[in-house]
């Protein structure tokens, strides 16, 4: 599975670093071990798991489960997918329908490139009836997506892959390992050589401070991308779209990072905070989670 992916290794003073590209992101594995052979095996495992999840849940393939679901007939899914759909279902109801895995079709109208155009209200009005997790039939085993609708695991697949890869490593190895897929990361235990892992977050504007996370174990997920926005009528529109209006969230933070036990829930909270725009900080404070918001 890894043959088609280029794996790179380097050794720092304290650890091995394996790196590869998956899920449209640069991925790194930090391994605190004296055994290079173990480090390579661990990187292989992590890369393999990333590739597996990417292949299984990518919406760009015509030979996977997602494409089967998009044939709009009832599909009995495997247990892993069932767990993810249950999670999406819970997230949808707990977030007052803001987190919606059926909202991916908005990308048909919005693209956040330099030449992108803002869609018209009429265009959005035609598309909105095809968004809404509550219109999709899911009974815990069988999913049936109506014609014209789609689901997208992209909202949490990368975070899930981080957790899943780390679990996989933990079932065979004892070494402290940190998995970082494009800024979503998790560590199984504190490093040996020092008290905490230290991960820097890029400074996004002059007004915000450079953040550096120190943590022993657990996960940090970040939502936001400073390059993805377009200008419309003199306003900068963020790429965070509200699934209920189909329109970018106003006053969305540039980046939201959340630290929690696992990457999947950290990712969900950072996404939900971004969707709340100006209320992002207050939401996270009320949730009593450690967070860093950059505006």
């Amino acid at each position: 599975m890894n043959r088609t992916r280029e794996l790179k290794y380097r050794r720092t003073t304290e650890e091995f670093v394996g790196s590869f590209h998956a899920m449209a992101s640069p991925c790194e594995v930090l391994i605190q071990s004296s055994s290079e052979s173990d480090a390579r095996k661990i990187t292989d495992l992590v890369c393999g798991e990333a590739a597996r999840i990417e292949m299984k849940y990518s919406r760009y393939r015509d030979d996977n489960l997602v494409s089967k679901i998009h044939q709009h007939q009832p599909v009995r899914v495997d247990t892993e997918t069932a767990r993810l759909l249950d999670f999406a279902d819970t997230a949808y109801s707990l977030s007052d329908k803001r987190f919606d895995i059926s909202s991916g079709i908005l990308r048909k109208l919005w693209s956040f490139t330099e030449s992108a155009k803002v869609p018209s209200r009429a265009q959005l009005k035609l598309l909105l009836p095809y968004i809404g997790w509550d219109k999709i039939s899911w009974d815990g085993a069988i999913i049936s997506v109506p014609e014209g609708m789609e689901i997208d695991f992209g909202g949490f697949a990368k975070e899930y892959a981080v957790d899943s890869a780390l679990n996989l490593v933990g079932s065979s190895f004892e070494h402290p390992v940190l998995v970082n897929f494009g800024g979503d990361l998790a560590a199984n235990k504190p490093p040996i050589s020092r008290d905490t892992w230290s991960v820097g977050v890029r400074k996004v504007s002059n007004s915000s401070k450079t953040a550096s996370f120190k943590f022993k174990s657990g996960a940090i997920a970040t939502s936001g991308n400073r390059y993805r926005y377009i200008y419309h009528k003199g306003k900068k529109l963020s790429h965070i779209l509200n699934p209920q209006t189909g329109w970018p969230v106003s006053n969305a933070p540039v980046s939201v990072s959340v630290a929690m036990n696992n990457c999947l829930q950290a990712g969900l909270f950072s996404t939900l905070a971004s969707l709340l725009g100006k209320d992002a900080e207050q939401f996270l404070t009320d949730q009593e989670v450690e967070h860093w918001v950059q505006r």
Binding site: D78, N167, L168, D286
Partner: protein, 426 residues
């Protein structure tokens, strides 16, 4: 305004999603189970019930492990090979411990036929990369008087953007038969109950090697074509220990071996100790009108026993709606007789007991025959629990008995059968 704290609920949901306690540690990603129940009945002859349980385990590393369990129960009677005539006939059972009488104008059937077979077939499938796939499997099959062990492997190579698949398959089998009443001596004469029967040894064996070469070609987005060549070479014991040939006298009736007991004269059959079968198989499948499927195949088989056969099989899956279909099925099978097939032996011309270089069998399965099958299947797929039910009717038209001696035995009795099959995923 204060936001509702959902941290705990999301945390619980995320732990469930990661399946940390069990499933993510499990090496099995998904399991599929399928069950089939089959009822087969030839009126007045064999009836069978077969249950098949097929399980597939999709591993996290993309390997697929399979285990198929089959249980058959057969009861009833099968034609012994002795001729039908216009007088009552008496025979000794294969065990040598009992006798049975066949009424005038009825086909002699050995009705002590009862057996249970259990078979296990594990398999391991690995996709090495996007081009190569291998399957390694084995089968152990055991019934009262029969044990079959086999190992098989199949390698397939996918090329031309998945539009062409080359397949190579090999199977080796070792069969042991230890029949009730031991192994009959070739052309030995059936003796009375209690007398010493012509037997040699308690069991015998046969080995078989099979080769399969196949090409599957996708023609366009709606159709594909498959060609297979297969060869099967076997060496060892090929006789059916329960089959006999009647010895016919000048009056066209079986000779009476013992006028006191009325025992008919019959000798045990003998077939060559090797066989080479070759066959060519062509299959064409086509998607019709975006919802129905035509599946047509033809097989040509020939062997060094002089048997050639043609099988034409056509199925049409007619989709009634998104979740159900009807599938009519028709099959014609035509076979020529083996070089050594003979419906009986003329008295005075029977080879001596133990003449292993002479070959003769009256087993109707080696004679000329034409078989017709028609069937209808109703199935529900694309639903929660796919299932199907099929009913088939089979009629076997045996050829006229050539060289009818004395004009009494002119036509073999046709065999018909009804089959009901139920299949379900669970």
């Amino acid at each position: 305004m204060k936001y509702k704290n959902i941290k705990k609920a999301i945390s619980t949901a995320s732990i469930a999603a990661l399946g940390v306690t069990n499933a993510s540690d499990s090496i099995i990603d998904r399991m599929d189970f399928n069950g089939t129940l089959l009822f087969y009945s030839e009126p007045d002859r064999v009836s069978a019930v077969e249950a098949i349980f097929d399980s597939k385990y999709y591993m996290k590393n993309n390997d697929v492990l399979g285990l198929k369990i089959t249980v058959d129960v057969l009861t009833g009677a099968s034609a012994s090979g002795a001729v039908t005539t216009d007088v009552d006939q008496t025979f000794t059972t294969p065990s040598g411990n009992g006798l049975y009488t066949t009424r005038a104008n009825e086909t002699p059937l050995d009705d002590t036929f009862k057996d249970t077979r259990i078979s296990l077939s594990p398999s391991w499938t690995r996709r090495w990369n996007s081009n190569y796939k291998s399957v390694i499997g084995a089968t152990i099959s055991k019934e009262y008087d029969y044990l079959s062990l086999s190992a098989n492997t199949m390698l397939s190579y996918n090329t031309d953007d998945n539009n062409r698949i080359y397949s190579l398959g090999l199977t080796f089998a070792h069969d042991t038969i230890s029949p009730e009443g031991d192994i009959p001596i070739a052309f030995g004469v059936m003796q009375d109950v209690g007398a010493l029967q012509p037997r040699l040894g308690t069991d015998d064996t046969r080995i078989t090697a099979d080769l399969l070469l196949g090409i599957t070609q996708v023609i366009d987005s709606k159709s594909l074509f498959q060609i297979n060549y297969s060869a099967s070479a076997s060496d060892g014991y090929h006789n059916d220990p329960f089959k006999v040939l009647s010895v016919i006298g000048a009056d066209g009736r079986p000779v009476i071996e013992n006028t006191t007991t009325g025992l008919s004269s019959a000798v045990f059959e003998n077939r060559p100790d090797s066989r080479l079968k070759q066959s060519l198989y062509f299959q064409y499948k086509r998607d019709m009108f975006d919802s129905h499927v035509l599946d047509a195949s033809y097989r040509f088989m020939f062997d060094d026993w002089g048997v050639t056969s043609h099988t034409l099989d056509v199925k049409y899956k007619y989709r009634l709606n998104d979740v159900s279909y009807l599938q009519p099925h028709a099959r014609i099978y035509q076979q020529s007789e083996a070089d050594f097939y003979m419906p009986f032996i003329v008295s005075g011309k029977e080879p001596g007991a133990g003449s292993s270089s002479s070959h003769a069998s009256a087993d109707y399965r080696l004679g000329e025959m034409t078989g017709y099958t028609i069937g209808l299947e109703y199935g529900r797929d694309n639903v929660d629990r796919p299932w199907s039910i099929a009913l088939e009717y089979y009629l076997q038209d045996l050829g006229d008995i050539k060289g009818a001696f004395g004009g009494i035995n002119s036509k073999a009795e046709d065999v018909s059968a009804v089959m009901l099959r139920f299949n379900m995923d669970f």
